[in-house]
């Protein structure tokens, strides 16, 4: 069983489109995250949810909207995609108290 699963793994889309990336974890963790890895491989936090409550919302364009229907799911919706949105997006989960972090396998988004 995959602990943190993201779908899709690859996403190629045109500028201006709207797309979603889904993330699910079966570890019983109470906190989930979205990270963006740019072309230089730098990893930066975008959002974090703890028990379905948004707790981190870094400086990210309003076109990005996370949604957490329950503790096991955290989806990322992106409106009006731009070329600069091309990156790898990682979902991760952890327990609020503790150190463990588990990453999904990433979604490579390419905007053309």
């Amino acid at each position: 069983d995959t602990a943190v699963s993201q779908t899709p793994k690859y996403l190629v889309t045109q500028m201006g489109n709207d797309k979603s990336i889904k993330c699910e974890q079966n570890l019983g963790h109470d906190t989930m995250y979205w990270y963006k890895q740019d072309s230089k491989k730098f990893l930066k936090i975008m959002f974090s949810y703890n028990n379905k409550e948004l707790i981190i919302n870094e400086t990210v364009p309003n076109r990005f909207s996370p949604k957490s229907p329950d503790k096991a799911h955290l989806n990322l919706h992106i409106n009006s995609l731009e070329l600069g949105d091309s990156a790898v997006y990682f979902c991760a989960s952890s327990q609020w108290v503790g150190y463990g972090y588990t990453f999904g396998s990433g979604t490579r988004l390419t905007v053309v």
């Binding site: 906190t31 995250y33 990270y35 230089k40 491989k41 730098f42 990893l43 930066k44 936090i45 974090s48 707790i55 981190i56 790898v88 990682f90 991760a92 952890s94 609020w96 108290v97 503790g98 150190y99 972090y101 990453f103 396998s105 990433g106 490579r108």
Partner: protein, 119 residues
């Protein structure tokens, strides 16, 4: 806010030799966690080793060990007997403990070191 610095964008090592990757960090917290993650071309983020700041003993996992210098805020990774499969991007990362921050506890990453293993 915490920052993590990896000053070596690229490193190379001969197979079976030893290599050390550097990491420094800046924080005002007294308790925290430090990590090394490995990202091979498959892009999966793989935990290599973890250190808890309140523990003075350096962590070790098989061929991987760290040199944790809390006062110097330094956290280097030593890979012994390097293997071809160790070739990857290595990231140093910092995480607050619950009791240190009480709130935002995301992983803060360094910029990474690309390790090449030469046969």
């Amino acid at each position: 806010a915490q920052t993590v610095t990896q000053s070596q964008p690229e490193m190379s090592v001969q197979e079976a030799e030893t290599v050390t990757l550097s990491c420094t960090y800046d924080t005002s917290e007294s308790d925290y966690y430090l990590f090394w993650y490995k990202q091979p071309p498959s892009r999966q983020m793989i935990l290599v080793i973890r250190q808890e700041a309140y523990k003075q003993q350096n962590a070790t996992e098989n061929r991987f060990s760290v040199n944790f210098q809390k006062a110097a805020k330094s956290f280097s990774l030593k890979i012994s007997d390097s293997q071809l499969g160790d070739a990857a991007m290595y990231f140093c990362a910092y995480r607050s403990t619950f009791f240190s921050s009480g709130s935002a506890r995301q992983l803060t990453f360094g910029s990474g070191t690309q390790l090449t293993v030469l046969p």
